[in-house]
């Protein structure tokens, strides 16, 4: 089941999260909703991200593919220009660079869509609260037995449960 708590102070949300986590609820079962970004210090509600890795892998993949493609096309239809090499990395390095950056950009965007859940199938059983301007809503997934404890944690921190 899901519980929703509404807060107007960031410190109150932090206190509620701390109590919930001490009560055994993992960070993966806690979600915050707000109309603007909310940042907490480390170890409050840490989320891991592999976006940088995805970006680097995208860059390597596109860069390598572009270089291989250029190498192949230059040999497939050879242009002999005054004894110059058929394939020269320096003369085509700009294209390799641009394709490398394109790979990083596309991978970053794709990973953003994945990591933010925008490109994934939504769990329709999880309610999305309507957030008032300036408010922060806390959504907790917990079992029936843990619910009273979670409600108490939210209320003790100054939140209202929905």
């Amino acid at each position: 089941m899901y519980l929703i708590g509404e807060f107007h102070e960031k410190e109150a949300v932090r206190a509620a999260i701390r109590t919930l986590r001490e009560g055994g609820i993992p960070p993966t079962d806690i979600d915050l909703f707000s109309e603007e970004p909310v940042e907490f210090p480390r170890r409050v509600l840490d989320r891991s991200s592999r976006m940088s890795l995805a970006s680097v892998l995208g860059a390597i993949a596109f860069g390598a593919l572009a270089t291989a493609f250029i190498y192949w096309t230059q040999h497939n239809y050879q242009l002999n220009t005054g004894g110059m090499p058929t394939f020269s990395f320096w003369a085509t390095g700009v294209i390799t660079f641009e394709m490398t950056m394109l790979g990083a950009i596309v991978a970053t965007f794709a990973w953003f869509l994945w990591e933010s859940g925008l490109a994934r199938k939504r769990d329709h059983t999880a309610p999305v609260p309507e957030v008032d301007p300036g408010a922060i809503c806390l959504r907790v997934r917990c079992s029936e037995e843990d619910a009273p404890q979670a409600i108490a944690a939210i209320r003790r921190a100054g939140g209202e449960t929905r």
């Binding site: 960031k10 979600d31 915050l32 909703f33 707000s34 109309e35 603007e36 970004p37 909310v38 940042e39 907490f40 210090p41 480390r42 509600l45 989320r47 991200s49 976006m51 940088s52 970006s55 493609f69 250029i70 096309t73 230059q74 497939n76 239809y77 242009l79 220009t81 020269s88 003369a91 085509t92 700009v94 294209i95 660079f97 641009e98 394709m99 950056m101 394109l102 990083a104 950009i105 596309v106 970053t108 965007f109 990973w111 953003f112 869509l113 990591e115 933010s116 859940g117 925008l118 490109a119 939504r122 999305v128 957030v131 301007p133 300036g134 922060i136």
Partner: protein, 438 residues
């Protein structure tokens, strides 16, 4: 005294920034219609050129590159407004950037769309432009990847893709809010474009990571794009083009004209959309100081570029140098110096004079001056080739002028439409919950 926008209540900020999206005034319609007419005239001129061939332009041997290439370099330069300024300010976490970034990012996307059209217009046989794209074809040919023109294609495609994503990402939360608060037909469009954004902390975190990464990537791409544009010239062994400093010289000029475009656009938005509380003298003052800095840097590069040519006294280079500074093209050159250095230096260097109005005047001068700079770089070199007997003057025809005017109108029209569809300032960036120390 107008309070700092960060101190305004959230509802007030949202109302102020969403207000320009609703309703269309009569003056807006008239202005859009006028711009459409100018744009349509350019389209007619281009279709005339397509039917009659490139002979209707002023391009003749040996001047094969005229104001189409000038426009191309100019618009690619303007596109650096956004991404460079926005990315640098975002990475350095400059608090004053918030009302500025989206206006700048939109300039980038539109300027690139317009600039990217010019190589196609310049081709003559525009319908064959896809031959630049590498794909298996019955001719069994591949494009020459060693050509700077193909470098251009890849650089612009990468930059346009990156800039469009860079503009779109921070728009997502605003579009989600617009979908919630907009009762008109646009609700469905906003909802679709916001991709189901709910404002969860995972989404905010992903957005923050993505924006930081994109800022780093787009900076590198922006610098490379204008360097590649500079290499279109510098890789040719032509007098006053074959220069090692052309890359940084072009990048500097691009940032310079980009900041000028941003100031001009911000001044117009402030006036038309009544955003005085958000685009304050503080923002203009900071951008004016940046413009002044870039003006000095531009002067340094221009001086270094011309001094080495003059000192070297190589006859072919001196022919171009003389044409630029003392002969046929001298009025353009000296007007360029006045517009790009003298006027900005006086208006922005003296603190008392650095007002919003004067900053806008200086920015308009820089825009005109930078267009002239591109003309001074492109035309005199081709008009004074290594064979002196082939020297010839170039003057654009009405077709080229109409197409050029149309691009300026298209830029203004795209911007006006954008500002009616999307908030020109990111609403969600204004009221973050203050971060805490670890």
């Amino acid at each position: 005294m107008v309070p700092a926008p960060e101190l305004l209540p959230y509802e007030k900020i949202r109302e102020d920034l969403f207000r320009p999206l609703s309703g269309v005034s009569r003056s807006y319609l008239v202005a859009t219609f006028c711009l459409f007419v100018i744009g349509a005239t350019g389209f007619v001129a281009w279709s005339y050129q397509l039917r009659r061939g490139m002979g209707v332009t002023g391009l003749q041997r040996p001047v094969y590159w005229g104001i189409y290439i000038v426009d191309f370099v100019f618009w690619i330069g303007i596109s650096h407004a956004g991404t460079l300024i926005s990315a640098i300010l975002r990475l350095t976490d400059a608090a004053w950037r918030k009302p500025v970034t989206r206006a700048a990012e939109a300039i980038t996307v539109f300027a690139l769309m317009i600039g990217g059209m010019f190589p196609i217009i310049h081709l003559g046989r525009a319908w064959l432009f896809f031959w630049l794209i590498p794909y298996p074809n019955p001719r069994l040919l591949w494009p020459n990847f060693r050509s700077p023109l193909l470098w251009d294609l890849t650089a612009i495609v990468t930059y346009l893709t990156g800039s469009a994503i860079y503009l779109y990402l921070p728009l997502i939360p605003d579009m989600a809010q617009l979908a919630e608060h907009n009762p008109t037909w646009r609700r469905g469009v906003y909802r679709a474009l916001s991709l189901g954004w709910t404002g969860s902390d995972r989404q905010w975190l992903a957005l923050e990571h993505a924006m930081k990464l994109m800022s780093c990537l787009i900076l590198a791409v922006a610098v490379s794009v204008h360097t590649v544009v500079a290499w279109d010239f510098a890789m040719a062994i032509a007098p006053m083009w074959h220069s090692t400093i052309f890359g940084p010289y072009f990048v500097t000029g691009a940032i310079f004209s980009g900041i000028a475009a941003l100031i001009a656009v911000m001044a117009a938005l402030r006036k038309i959309l009544h955003l005085e509380a958000y685009l304050t003298p503080h923002h203009f003052n900071n951008l004016a100081k940046l413009l002044l800095l870039m003006s000095l840097l531009w002067l340094y590069f221009t001086f270094a570029e011309n001094l080495t040519v003059w000192y070297g006294n190589e006859p072919k280079e001196m022919a171009v140098f003389t044409a630029r500074t003392r002969a046929h093209y001298a009025p353009y050159f000296w007007i360029m110096v006045v517009l790009n250095f003298v006027i900005p230096f006086v208006l922005l260097g003296i603190r008392r004079l650095r007002t919003i109005r004067n900053s806008t005047i200086a920015a308009a001068c820089v825009l005109a001056g930078m267009w002239l700079e591109r003309f001074i770089i492109v035309v005199p070199t081709l008009a004074n080739p290594r064979l002196p007997a082939a020297a010839r003057f170039y003057a654009p025809t009405w077709v080229e002028i109409a197409i050029t005017a149309a691009t300026f109108a298209a830029m203004a029209m795209l911007y006006m439409i954008f500002s009616k569809l999307f908030p020109i300032i990111a609403v969600w960036e204004f009221k973050p919950h203050p971060p805490e120390e670890d």
